[in-house]
Structures are given as C-alpha cells and as structure tokens.
Amino acid sequence: MSELLEVDNLRISARNDDDELTPIVKGVSFTVDRGEVVALIGESGSGKTTIALSSLGYTKPGLEFTGGEVRLEGEDVISMDSDQLRSLRGQRVAYLAQSAAATFNPALTIGEQVTETCVLHGILTQEEADARAETLYRALELPDPDRLGKRYPHQVSGGQLQRLMAATALCGKPDLLVLDEPTTALDVTTQIEVLKAFKSVIKQEGAAAIYVTHDLSVVAQIADHIVVLYAGEIQEYGTAEQVVEKPSHDYTRRLMHAVRPPPAAGQGDETSGEHRREAPALEVKDILAGYGRTQGGVPSITVLRDVNVAIERGHSVGIIGESGCGKSTLARVMAGLLPAAEGQVLLDGEQLKPALEQRKRDELQKIQFVFQMADTALNPRQRIDHILGRPLEFYLGLKGEEKRRRIGELLQMVELPQEFAGRYPEELSGGQKQRINLARALAASPEVLLCDEVISALDSIVGANVIQLLKRLRKKTGVSFVFISHDLSTVASFADEIVVLYAGRVVERGTTDAVLSPPYHPYTRLLISSVPELRVGWLEQTMQTQEAQAGIDRVVTLTEKGCPFFDRCPLAIEGTCDEETPPERKLTGNHVIECHRSEAEFAQ
C-alpha cells in the first residue's frame, strides 16, 4: 500500500469580528493509504469535520488555513488555485455530508445530481454516467433503480437519500471519499443497512476513505486506522484493533468507557424490593392519541393505539422505539400536554383528567417533565436561580432564605457549583444545561419524572455522566422514572422495565431482563441485533443473520388492523399478521409479547 493522502502538521484557525485568530486545528498529522479507511473520532468541537474538509482544500466560512500541508499524491491541495480545486473535488476526492436531506438540491432530479460531476469533468458521457448510477443504486440496494434517477429528493426517504449521497460521491470513481457522520441522523435499524452498503461499496470500488464520527462502535466496524481527536489535537493514532482493544491514551479510555455495553439481560438496576400490592405511581390504560381534527373522538392522525404502561413506585420504565413510533407522544399524554382521545391516565390509582388545564396543582406537581433539548427548555431570559426558584415558589410556597437554600441544595444534587445560580443558560455548556433542566424538575419534589431523550443531544462522555447522575438521583430520592430513548443500550443500562413501541403500538413489555433475553418479539430482536458492538468484525457477523434482512427501511405506518411490523417481519404469516390485531401473549411474570407466533416459534 502506498500513501494517498498525507496531512502534515495542519493548522486551521477561526477569524472573529475583531480579526483575531483562534486556533481550531492545532498541528494535526496523519496519512491515508490507498484502499484504506481512516476514522477521525472526537466529540463536538474536536475539529474532526474541519480536518476532513481540508482534504478537499475547503474550509467553512470564517475558518482559514494557517499552516501545514495536505498532500494528495504528493501535491499540496491547500495551495491549489480554484480551477485545480474544482478538478480535485470533481475527480479525485468526494464528500458525503451528514444530512443528505439538506444537501440535495430540492429543485433538481436525483439523477442529475448524482451524475452531474462526472459528466462535467468529462469522466463519463451522460449515458455512461446514467448507467453507472443505476449500477450504484443496485449495489446500494436502493428500490426501483431504473426510475430512481427521474425522481426528486423529497420523493424518497431519509435513509435512501443518505445512500444516494454515496452514489453521488462514487459515480466519478474518486480516489478518496470523505464521509462526515453519514449515519448519525438515522435510526439504528436503518443505520446498520446504510453502514453495510457503504462498507461493501468502498471495498468493491477500492477507494480510500476518511470517516468522521463521534461513535466508537461505528468506527470499529469500518476503519483500518483510527485518529482520536480532542480540541483540535490528536490524542491517539493507531490501527483499529490497537485503539479499540488496547487504548493507550487516557481520553480514548474515557470515550470507550462512555460507550454503553450492548443491551443484554442483567444490566439494569436491581429492581428495588419485592412487588408491592399498592397501585402503580403512574399508569396509562388503553390509550388512543394523535393529532389533527378529531372525527367521532378519533384524531385524523393516530399516533398511539391500545397502549398500556404501568410505572410501579420507585421503578424506572424505559420506553424504546425508533423515530416516529410515538414514544414522545406517550410522554406528552402522561403529562397532559396532549389529551388522549381514549383511555385513562391514573396517578396513584386515581384517574387524572386528560388535559393539563383541568388537572389540579398537586397532581401536576407529582408528574414532572424533563425536555429533550436543554437548549430550548430553559428560558434564555431567566437566570438559573429564577428557573429553579419558580417551581419551589409555585408548588411549595418557598420564599426568601428558604428558597435560596433549597436552590443551593438542588445545584448540589445535580453536581453543579453554587455560583451557577447567578448565571444565564447561555453561559452554560450543553451538559450543564441538561443538569439544570433536571434540577428544575426535581425542585417540584415529584413522584414521577418523565425524561424524554434527555441525553441524545449530548456528547457521549457528557451523556454517560448524566446517566450516572440519574442513577444516583434515583437511589437518593426514590422517584419513579419514565425514561424515553431511541437508544436501546442507554435504556438497558438504566431501566428496570422496558416497553418496546413500534408504530404506535406496544409490541413487547416486561422487566429489562425478560425483554432482553429470549423469547423476543421479532422487532425487539431486530433492534437488539442492530446496536453496533464495540468490536471489530461485528458488522460482518450481523450481516449473515436473517434479522438484518428486516432492516431495510420502509415507511412505517400505523395500521388499524393487523400487526404494524408485518411488512418487515421475517416470521410474518400471510393472511393473519396483515389482517388481525396480534394477541397479547403473557409469558412469565409480567412479560408480554404481542404477536401471532407462539413462544416456541420465537425461540427459533
């Protein structure tokens, strides 16, 4: 193997309004050999995307090269003029952006955008390019390859666009691919599919690649070499095996530590105490909810159907599902933000009014909602002590010295220094804001805390710390948790019980151990097998299994009859699963699977 790309002591700085330079990339060097995948890994602000873009001789507006060289086959791309850059980008280096939905031009056909570059640079004629595009569509397992080129970007799904991005990049047979977090925005079951397609296409084409991501488990599947970055500097640089299996640097170890182990039985917190006979802290029964105009009591867009969940006192229940499955809607129904069209919400066995406005203040106090995005959940015009002080005043009637003391205690509880009381939200980092967000909910002394994707917007190390904090808070306060997430490993590491939602229906529920060990519902099985494991070679193994076949992304719709998972299910029974609502199969304990197949059949 010979060196294709050499990044040599690269320095990039940001210029602000005062013309001052702030270094963003501080002397980074690494090489990419032909046919090799090098991963740049780091958290937000590490400079990984900036470094990757430098191989195309490009910096984002406001940034500039301040030193070093980036050599492609010995030729420095930083010093190229605009004509040279154009042919470099058109013919030799191709870029895949994070959000394909935004990077496709809405007004042009997919075919034109895929073939544009190689035709413009005279690599292929339009006919050859169209034929090559079609070959790539097939290789990337895209539906309807012969007519796909004539469609417009908004007519295909997000996962498909992400793969079309790859087709665009590969069409001109570049020497080097730059992939910038290409699977981050996707659901797990879609991610594995896209990852698989990328890996095999890269291998087929023999191209080299730079793969930018924050996710170590993904890196382990695809990279030959790994560059670990922090604040624009290399922390560790070595082969994938070496970095993943024997990390030598402290920061890499911390990153590894933050990766939650793959979901498996026996991870959840110990179920506290024996099963008590009293009413659950919070319970929802036969919920039907949705948006839009209601007709005969049924909303025009139904999001949830026949949902039953009970949260025992002091327990934590994880609700898991992919985007659009209705998990956030369920939390909103519980909080009263979205009144359910049918069904009941019970607090301590007492029925609550469906709408927020009709509930009493002490009922509201007992259920507290923690919003996903701390950035938007805290009023930017209020100081932290006002944010935390308001619920104390509102629910508990605390004033003056007593209130101030309690604010101090709350800050201590979420492990933040006391002087934060006098700051505004924008003076805090993302993780700190999320802690304030939690503290505000705790200020009400609630019985149930509804946590909606509370760590999904955070970097992995920060997110892991917040999970640790949540565990300590649970022990300390005995509050019940409803923990909503799209990430099965996160839920598995925190919850006593798990509810799996698919297209607005509960497909499986039970204790964490029961849900994460056989027998599985076919969808749960797919979810579990889709979570990347932090070991080299996992992807190849998984690709052999039949579950992977079900991962092909489809438009998920809530059907009135039959099982919503029917069209993806490897065990589907034609004529039954698409016609009849699956029965609740009660297994050991309170483990429930909704499926037409029997226990024995799951085990296969």
Partner: protein
Amino acid sequence: MLWRAILGRFGISLVTLWVVSILIFIGTNLLPGDVAQIILGQMATPESTAALRAKLGLDKPPIQQYLVWLQNVAMGDLGISKAGLGAGLGTPIVEMLGPRVYNTARLTLLVAGIAIPVSLFLGLIAAMHPGTRLDRSITFATLNLISVPDFLVATALVLIFAVGLGWLPSIVFLRGDETGWVLIKTLAMPILTLVILVSSQIIRMTRATVLNVMSSPYIEMAILKGVPRKRIILRHALFNAVGPIVNVIALNLAWLVGGVVVVEQIFSYPGLAKLMIEAVLMRDMPLVQACAMIFCATYIVLIFIADIASILSNPRLRHPK
C-alpha cells in the same frame, strides 16, 4: 395538489377583495351626512336632497345600500361623481376614469419594464460578489434610497435635471397626442423617480433572496462536488431563487400602486392617483370609492401573482410523491 393550492389562493384573493370592498364601503360612510348632501352642498333644499337620496337609494338600510353598490360595481357601474355638477346629476365615474387609468397604466408599465431588468441585474451582481466594494456600494445606496421620502428623490431629480441642467420639464403636461421622443421627454421625470424607488427595493430583496439560497447546504455541496461557479449560480441557485424573485417583483409592483400617489401629485401627472387625491380634497365619495377599489383590486391581483410564484417554485407541490 398544485391546482388545489392555486385554486385555494384564488379563493382567498376573492374573499379578500370582498372584505376590502366592505372596508372601503364602511370607510367612506363613516361620517354622518351622505353623498346626496355632499353633492348638493349646503344650499340644497330638504326636498331636493330627499329626492336625490331616493334616486341614489340612500334611504335604504346600509346593508342594502352596500349590496346595491356592490352589484353596480360588479356590473361596471361605478356611480356618479360630483364633478361637472350644476346642470344635471354629475358625470358618470366610468367616463372620467378612462383616460386616467390609461395614463397610470402606461406610466407603471413603463416603470416596470425598465426597473425589473435593471434591478435584477444589479441585485444578482451584488449577490454574486458579496462583501466586495461593488456589493457594499449597491447595498448602501439602496438602503439610503428606501429610507428617504419619495418626494425627496423627486425634488432632488427636479433640481438636477430640470433646474440645474435644464434637460427635462419639471411638470408633466400631457396633451394626449405626444409620440416618440416628445413623449419620452415628457414622461422622463416621473418614470425616473419611480424606477429609482422601485429598483432599490427589488435590488435589495433579490440580493437577499439569492444570498439566502447561496448559503444553503446544497450549494456548499455543489462547491464540494467541484461544480463550476457559473453552473452553481445558473442551475443550482437560480433554479431555487426564481420563485422567490418573481414573488419579490410582484410585491414591489404592488408597492408601486401606492408609490404613484406622491409622484403623480409632484409632477401633476394626470393619472388615476391624482384624480383620487382631487376627489379626496373635494370629498367626492363615489369617486374615492371607485378609485380605491381599482387600486386595491390591482394590488390584490399582484399579491395573488406573488403567491402563485411561490407555489409554482415549490418542487414538493410540482412533483407530488
């Protein structure tokens, strides 16, 4: 889907026009004392006022009056004006409007014909070279021009071209049979004023629209794909900017509807707006109503065109799933 959106917009425009007609009707009937009294003046006997009132249908309840008025307007009968009163019952408004509408339409169409190409050119030039000297001077000049009163531009132009250089007349005197060079010279001042005012707006908004498109991720992607600059602008950016730009132009031509008022007055241009001012000064209510309806209808049509432009430029509506 596309047709439904367009039909929907059309429906909204009709409803708006109807609500506007109500507002104008209410507006012109705010004060006690009615058209009959205004027409005949203080000296009229109660009998003659009552007779005229009956003839004009003013003795009926307001809602019925409105309906009669609306029906007449729809049939093309805009009522009678106070002007030329003395012997009979005044002049039918339709007759008075003809030449005025012609003059105003001629003026605005000439302005649009000059302003649109000029301002698109300057707006695109500015957007293609953002931050350069050229761009900064264009933005600075246009910002100043949109900030100042219309009559400042007009008076400054008169001082320069009529008084200082003596090239052009400071007042428009139309006999109606001018052609060629004479006509151009006669209309030059109001046209120049309006072109400067309308162009400043269109230039700024065209620039903002194109820059907005140019900063979108798909343009950055096109740059990273090595697409040549010319193609990025002509195929990737302009394709997406065309709808918003047509929208901008239509909205600014709608603005022109208000802009002619001051300009026609300054240059004594015998157009519809000047007629309306005269009507307001003489409290000739039927004439005010008629002029206002024509202006508002034009305005609503232009806004409708602007909306259609945005609908047509939306690929989601043009190519449904």
